[in-house]
């Protein structure tokens, strides 16, 4: 592959971030323009990757490799397979959407957009990595943008707590898996971080069983696994809108993806050994997250906990280690990414206009901002797993996978669906329907054109994938085949 398209996807946001930092602070339009340009461009590149990925050939494509530190076997090694291509697309989408949603940020836009771009580069780097060191490098790169963006631009009441909690939880998870990564490196004894080599390193059964939990657990913290999920709602709620979108929409997928890529694919025996535990934890995620979401009074917390609930399904999908489960998990990562980004975007739009997130104080906003309301409704339907939307085609195979290994999980987790329906419908009704409080009669205006574009595109995607799942499943299936080749099984 001659054209370094993946490198461009990774480094374009990085470069944009640096350029933005170098601009004078008062050139706001230029700052936003560059951020948007980088976002759109990387989106275009991601679409090209998606379209250009050769399904017949499968495997890792668009591979680029350069030595980084040969002495330790570290290389800059990127490539994508069917599992990561949709995530690259997701990353580019949500970053672009985040920039557009943040168009009206007035407080230090230079730093805001620049940090956001760094975050974007970080997630793309993880999705594209074929080198374990590089994966980790980019994984950790996200620490400071995440922290600062919440701490500086977050909601004043909880930003200190939320940002710190989030960062520390995630950091602790990642450094713990770092130890596991190092253990794998030395146990393989091949002096390389090349994941394709490590896949065949032949780790002993005992080693895999011991270290799987460390590596998986560390990464899964970012995936929101119970009982390490509590950073998610607090962090998401404290974050500014675009960052909530990125965090819940993409960063949680980064965690899940890393857990899959490193822990499950490199330590398959360990995955098999611990799969029951993950299944159970994932199920708790689903049901517990939904229950807690049901009793929230803060609009944003509802969505925050719903993310915990939905990521549980991804974990269940992983833990089944079956074709359907993994396929569904892949779909769910994309679907949930889009859905929750849209959720948070709408929550942000509502909050910007009403200055409250208390569900009790809201109402009747459909009249004032119909497009946003429709966006929320569609995201809600996706979240409920309503057929015809992307959530259903993602969740269904996950449940099928669960049937293969432990039907009880499917039966319990499905309760999450009905609870989800309950809280989504309640919130939807209380916020967007019913009586519009008088205070909002004049103060609330419709959302901007930029916002409408974001809502429209995300809604369209969710519907299109829900109606034509093959658009994405064929892609993910090819990635699942690769995973299954490693973990064995159907």
């Amino acid at each position: 592959m001659g054209f370094p398209i993946l490198s461009l996807i990774i480094f374009l946001p990085l470069a944009a971030g640096l350029i933005i930092l170098a601009l004078p602070a008062d050139r706001k339009l230029a700052i936003k323009g560059i951020a948007l340009g980088a976002g759109v461009l990387s989106l275009v590149l991601a679409v090209i990757v998606y379209a250009g990925y050769d399904l017949a050939q499968g495997g890792y494509q668009f591979v680029e490799r350069m030595p980084w530190l040969p002495a330790l076997g570290i290389s800059y090694y990127v490539g994508v397979n069917g599992m990561s291509v949709p995530l690259v697309l997701l990353g580019a989408l949500v970053i672009t959407a985040g920039v557009m949603i943040s168009w009206r940020v007035e407080d230090r836009p230079r730093e805001f957009f620049s940090f956001m771009m760094f975050l974007g580069a970080s997630v793309q780097g993880v999705f594209c990595s074929l080198d374990l060191f590089m994966l980790f490098f980019f994984y950790e790169l996200a620490v400071f943008p995440k922290y600062l963006m919440i701490a500086i631009w977050g909601s004043p009441k909880t930003r200190d707590y939320g940002s710190m909690k989030l960062t520390l939880y995630l950091f602790i998870g990642s450094v713990i898996s770092l130890v596991g990564v190092l253990a794998m490196y030395f146990a393989a004894g091949q002096k390389t971080f090349d994941m394709l080599v490590l896949e065949n390193a032949g780790f002993s059964m005992a080693f895999q069983q011991t270290w799987f939990l460390v590596v998986f657990g560390g990464f899964a913290v970012l995936g929101g696994i119970f009982p390490f999920h509590s950073w998610a709602p607090d962090g998401h709620v404290a974050a500014p809108t675009a960052i909530s979108m990125l965090l819940a929409g993409v960063e949680m997928k980064v965690g899940a993806f890393a857990a899959l890529r490193v822990a499950i694919m490199l330590l398959p025996e360990g995955a098999r050994y611990w799969s029951l535990l993950i299944l159970i934890l994932g199920t708790i995620n689903v049901v517990y997250g939904a229950f807690i979401a049901l009793i929230q009074t803060d609009f944003k917390y509802v969505i925050g906990f719903s993310s915990v609930s939905h990521m549980g399904l991804v974990l269940i999908g992983f833990a089944t280690l079956s074709r359907e489960g993994l396929l569904g998990a892949g779909m769910q990562m994309f679907s949930h990414g889009i859905m929750t980004a849209l959720f948070f975007a709408v929550v942000g739009m509502v909050y910007d206009r009403t200055h409250t997130r208390n569900i009790g104080e809201l109402g009747g906003l459909f009249q004032k901002m119909p497009i946003a309301a429709i966006g929320f409704i569609v995201a809600g339907l996706v979240s409920m797993g309503m057929p015809g939307f992307s959530g259903f085609v993602a969740e269904f195979p996950i449940f099928m996978g669960a049937w293969r290994v432990l039907p009880l999980v499917a039966i319990i987790a499905i309760l999450g669906v009905i609870i989800t329906a309950g809280y989504i419908l309640l919130v939807m009704r209380r916020v967007f329907f019913g009586k519009l409080p008088e205070a909002f009669e004049k103060s609330v205006t419709d959302i901007t054109v930029m916002d409408k574009i974001v809502v429209g595109v995300l809604v369209l995607l969710m519907v299109v994938i829900g109606v034509f799942p093959s658009l994405m499943t064929t892609m993910i299936e090819s990635g699942v085949n690769q995973i299954l080749a490693l973990v064995g099984g159907a």
Binding site: A25, P67, F136, E140, V143, L148, F171, I172, L182
Partner: protein, 480 residues
């Protein structure tokens, strides 16, 4: 005896010679230009130090096999080479950071800095107990003075005295250990001691005791717990650039001799001292990080953080393998640029705002966005976050621990680094909070240059590992 004097040995010590010349030059210039504006002195010192470093790179490159020089006093190997670079670059940056337009006794300040650097350079290359002790004292005495350099400031004087007392005491213990070593073996050469001790069939307990005595001196230098008590007070009182120098170059010198002496003299009791070092590392990491949490003074915070960092570096030593020492060298280089940047900014803020309190940093993000960004990078590097050098340093030392099978040490390391991140983030957050004053802080060109160099170093070491990693591996290789 190997290494009797030959003219061809001169290039090996060319940088040290250059330092002496520089010291003389600074002294003369100071005499000539006394009572005038002499910010040039800082530049001259810095450039001189860099020239010395350059000479080292150009002419003092060690041969493939280590060579003993000057009757076995010095050893020319890659460890010497890399550490010399660390010291000289560190001193140069320190000189630039502290450059004032005018000030009293500036000549002496730079002179002491250069002499101390000379001592460190010799420390790293010493291959003989006597030479080593001399080098350590050459390093320390100027530093005692520098710590108490602001004679009008009570805190500074207190810092100087404290540093002196602690230093002298630990130095005495160490010297006692040295004398016992000589007594049991009849030799002062580091590279003959091991065999001599074995021949004298010294009991393992004794060997362990000797190692402990020696460790006291080195532990003080690197400010590892439980020999860390001086650090917070001294850092707080000493002039900020000096504190930075103490925490980086001086610490590095300590690690250079620590690694050399332990591996050269006590190879047989490796299982024993690795445990001791591991314990020291654990205590340092935990104590340093936990105590840093409660600090409200940035210099004290950085002092405790430096204790914790010493703990991380000790993890590399405790691994007792090549990767560990590589990690130590890499970490120290990274720590040098990182911490000097942090102290440089502390100096700037402290001088302008007149306070080292954390609250003084509120609004820095608005006042000087670039400075705030540099501080941000420095703190992140300290916390071990890519793409900054601290990340790779930590990766190496923890990797070494894992390679050595010390998983628990690696886990303690990573968990405490999370605590570390907490207070680094707190500082970061304060910088970006609205402050009372929005006036940008004025910076001198020298300071700017130093900071830029530090930041560049942090990023370079954090992204392009290969060059320095190669040298660090070579340095590690020269000890095994």
């Amino acid at each position: 005896m190997t290494g009797a004097f030959e003219l061809s040995m001169i290039p090996a010590v060319l940088p040290e010679i250059m330092l002496i010349l520089l010291a003389v030059l600074v002294l003369v210039l100071d005499l000539v230009y006394r009572d005038r504006e002499n910010s040039a002195l800082g530049w001259i010192t810095a450039i001189g130090l860099l020239v010395a470093a350059g000479l080292g790179v150009a002419f003092s490159r060690p041969a493939s096999e280590p060579v003993l020089l000057f009757g076995g006093m010095l050893r020319q190997d890659w460890l010497t080479f890399t550490f010399r670079l660390i010291f000289m670059v560190g001193a140069a940056l320190t000189a630039l950071v502290g450059t004032e337009k005018s000030g009293k006794h500036l000549g002496e300040y730079y002179l002491l800095l250069i002499i101390s650097t000379l001592g460190m350079s010799l420390m790293a290359s010493s291959a003989n107990l006597i030479m080593l002790y001399l080098a350590i004292e050459t390093t320390s005495i100027p530093l005692y003075i520098l710590a108490g350099f602001k004679v009008t400031d009570q805190k500074s004087v207190e810092a100087g005295i404290k540093y002196l007392l602690f230093g002298a005491m630990t130095s005495a213990v160490m010297l006692y250990g040295f004398s016992l070593l000589w007594g049991f073996s009849g030799t002062t050469s580091l590279y003959e001691l091991a065999d001599a001790l074995k021949a004298g069939s010294a009991p393992p307990v004794l060997m362990g005791g000797l190692a402990l005595l020696v460790l006291v001196g080195f532990g003080f230098k690197v400010s590892a717990a439980p020999l860390h008590f001086w650090a917070p007070d001294v850092y707080e009182g000493a002039p900020t650039p000096v504190a930075g120098f103490l925490s980086t170059a001086s610490k590095a010198a300590g690690f250079a001799v620590l690694a050399r002496v332990l591996l050269a003299v006590f190879p047989d009791s490796l299982p024993f001292w690795t445990v001791v070092i591991a314990v020291l590392a654990t205590v340092s990491m935990i104590l340093g990080n936990v105590l840093a949490l409660v600090q409200r003074n940035i210099k004290r915070l950085l002092a405790y953080s430096s204790i914790a960092q010493a703990g991380y570096i000790l993890v590399g030593v405790a691994a007792g393998n090549e990767l560990g020492v590589t990690g130590v060298v890499y970490y120290l280089a990274s720590y040098l640029v990182t911490n000097l940047a942090a102290f440089g900014i502390v100096w700037l803020v402290g001088r302008q705002v007149g306070s080292d309190d954390l609250d003084a940093y509120a609004g820095l993000g608005k006042r000087n966005p670039a400075v705030a960004l540099a501080m941000l990078l420095a703190l992140l590097s300290l916390g071990g976050v890519p793409p900054l050098s601290g990340f790779f340093g930590k990766l190496l030392v923890f990797g070494a621990a894992v390679q050595a099978g010390q998983f628990w040490l690696a886990f303690v390391g990573v968990i405490t680094s999370v605590i570390g991140l907490y207070y680094y983030l707190t500082v970061m957050k304060i910088m970006y909070r609205p402050g009372t004053d929005e006036q940008p802080l004025p910076m001198t060109p020298a300071w700017r240059t130093a900071l830029l160099a530090c930041v560049a170093g942090m990023i370079f070491l954090g992204v392009a590992f290969a060059p320095w990693y190669g040298w660090a591996t070579a340095a590690a290789g020269s000890l095994f």
